[in-house]
């Protein structure tokens, strides 16, 4: 299994590649069917996606809403542009933070690769202002995930120290 790669192209695009041990059809379904998307498109630990609208047809709507269960949340909206089952998805999306970021144009390809699939995503690199806003949101999300991990760590520490006077 090859690790994910993430590179920039011409200061304008981000290219992500990742190999999966499943056929293109499964990847395509996992990227377009709401009940599958909700299982993995979650970012840092502790976040869930209670709302997932994915109308997988040209001009079909997308709306993904994430919450951290502690009052924090944000969502993206978008539209499908082109779909070629099971090899290619083109869509546009924007984050609402809460003001919408400029449209991100995303092309996702699934190519057979041995007994698995090579996925290649090409997306627009956001401008400096958008990055700063996303970074601010992301840092909060990252911080939240760190706290969750810390809580877990402390929980384990407590279990290990059960019986001792340490708490």
């Amino acid at each position: 299994m090859t690790k994910m790669t993430l590179t920039t192209e011409a200061d304008k695009y981000i290219i992500v590649t990742r190999r999966f041990a499943a056929p293109p059809e499964a990847l395509y379904r996992a990227h377009t069917e709401p009940e599958l998307i909700q299982k993995w498109l979650l970012g840092p630990d502790g976040w869930t996606m209670p709302v997932c609208i994915s109308e997988a047809r040209p001009n079909g709507k997308m709306r993904y809403e994430w919450v951290n269960g502690k009052g924090g949340g944000f969502h993206i909206t978008g539209e499908y542009v082109e779909l070629e089952p099971y090899s290619r998805i083109v869509h546009v999306e924007r984050m609402h933070l809460p003001d919408p970021t400029p449209d991100n144009h995303v092309e996702t390809r699934f190519a057979p690769d041995g007994d698995g699939t090579l996925m290649t995503i090409r997306m627009t690199l956001p401008d400096a202002e958008t990055r700063a806003r996303m970074l601010a949101t992301g840092m909060e999300r990252g911080m939240e995930a760190s706290y969750v991990r810390l809580e877990r760590h402390l929980e384990q520490g407590r279990l290990q120290h059960a019986g001792s006077t340490m708490s």
Binding site: M4, L6, T8, A30, W40, L41, L42
Partner: protein
């Protein structure tokens, strides 16, 4: 870690995030920042002090003005943003491996 904590704490306020987003466009004075936010200059100054001590912005002296800009080390590098994106995607795709394995099992 103290700097990181200060940065997180500074970023927890929506006004301060909006100030950073504004400064991502260009340098600005307190007066220029106060206008769109409909806040008094002392209120903006307090936010700027928090951002400055967290290392997220730097201020220079120009006559009686003290224009602010994003601290390059704190916010600007695209690498920092890309690292965040990389982490989020890597975590997503590790989870997707599990979803795909489940799909295979159900089918089989």
């Amino acid at each position: 870690m103290q700097t990181l904590d200060a940065a997180f704490s500074a970023l927890s306020d929506p006004t301060r995030r909006a100030i950073l987003a504004r400064l991502a466009k260009s340098e600005a004075t307190v007066m220029e920042l106060a206008k769109p936010f409909a806040m008094t200059q002392p209120a903006i100054s307090r936010h700027l002090k928090v951002l400055e001590s967290a290392g997220l912005i730097v201020r220079r002296i120009e006559g009686t003005k003290r224009p602010c800009r994003l601290a390059k080390a704190g916010m600007e590098p695209i690498d920092q943003w890309l690292a965040m994106l990389r982490d989020a995607l890597a975590r997503n795709y590790d989870r997707l491996d599990g979803v795909l394995a489940d799909m295979k099992t159900k089918k089989g």
